[in-house]
Homo-oligomer: 232 residues x 2
């Protein structure tokens, strides 16, 4: 390729470590591994057909995002969340997200309004999680759910705050994966609808209140249940 390469290869050539990283991240978030499972560089390198170096880089990045644990000289593993940790994550979200939502509602422009509407519409149309034997969850719904919550906050216009949301959401989902293993999702449709309405009505007080309650209820629904089997 000697051409000036203004070619629009949107994602044609990626670093190997990037691909492996993405695959591994999705696998972990999807729940393909059990918490505590060892992530052996050699095995992963063979599976992906790459060298140890690229797997290693992917794992190091994962550790940085809390999606893998590292035990020096003992390898990498899928993180196992204690009940305590899960509660801490949920509390952090309850603490921060309502505040950011207020800011978002005060600042969001018309474009933001449109995106909120679209995100809510998409979420409402996506079939919710139905727990089935062996199956973990609906990733389509999970993604729509994430986008809805994130879009609500995006009106704040502050990338740093949104990065904070992203990190907490990731941790929250990872922890939820196992807590919700056997827990049918309660119907949060009503809450999401009220959230959208309050946001579009620029009613920050109500929106913040509904969001805090939404997060509290979700956490409560998952905290008490018999999750994280001690064995395996």
């Amino acid at each position: 390729m000697t051409q000036t390469a203004h070619a629009s290869n949107s994602q044609g050539k990626q670093m190997l470590s990037e691909q492996v990283y993405a695959h591994l991240r999705d696998a972990i978030m999807r729940g393909d591994y059990a918490p505590g499972d060892a992530l052996k560089p050699q095995d992963l390198a063979k599976e992906h057909g790459v060298s140890l170096a690229v797997v290693r880089e992917a794992l190091v990045r994962l550790v940085g995002e809390g999606l893998a644990d590292r035990l020096p000289n003992r390898g990498f593993a899928v993180p196992a969340f204690s009940d305590r940790r899960w509660q801490e994550i949920a509390e952090a979200r309850r603490t921060i997200e309502p505040v950011v939502l207020r800011m978002s509602i005060e600042r969001g422009d018309v474009d933001w309004e449109a995106r909120v509407r679209a995100a809510h519409h998409r979420l409402a149309r996506t079939p919710a999680y139905v727990p089935e034997e062996g199956e973990h969850y609906s990733s389509a719904w999970s993604e729509a759910h994430r986008v809805f919550h994130r879009t609500l906050l995006e009106g704040c216009g502050n990338p740093v705050l949104l990065e904070t949301f992203d990190r907490m959401w990731t941790a929250s989902e990872l922890a939820r994966r196992w807590a919700a293993q056997r827990t049918p999702d309660r119907d949060a449709l009503g809450e999401h609808r009220r959230l959208e309405e309050a946001a579009l009505a620029r009613d920050a007080d109500t929106a913040a209140e509904v969001l805090a309650q939404h997060l509290t209820l979700t956490a409560a629904a998952l905290t008490g249940c018999p999750h994280q089997a001690k064995e395996a």
Copy 2:
């Protein structure tokens, strides 16, 4: 070495990548490099007397923490902060920290009180930054400052929220490094004292208010000034 090595080497044997990571992180935070400077694996490997792999791992970790930029196929570099970015970081802190401070004040126990007192005492005793030619800042004061602010929040008892603080503080300091290059630190002693007093008096309203103002003033002092000289 066949001995069981139960030796109490508190930190005697670390992974090389860990050491290089720490060195590099300190160097960047200390301002040894200029924003935009290339971080060349080969050079760094020679300087530290290690192979490319360990430098690479350190750099990848740094990128994950926002302490280095990565341009695919173009290497790593010291991050350069725009004025906009700096303001976003400052705003994020103003948004989140007062809320966490409230929680901390409501929950902190006597041990926390003692640590707040100690941290403030240490900060008050540490000579503040005095800008001199060629010299960047007093790392002793900077560290005492960080510990004071973090300790104030530690009463919240939530590691996730404290991790959030850590990330924002790191970003804030990195951005401030260059904004403050020529800016004498305004005297924040009084604000810190009032912060300590309000916290220990369990006056959450006042403390949150003082903190918000403290962060606003600090940001204002650094935002308007002629920082980030366009040339070298």
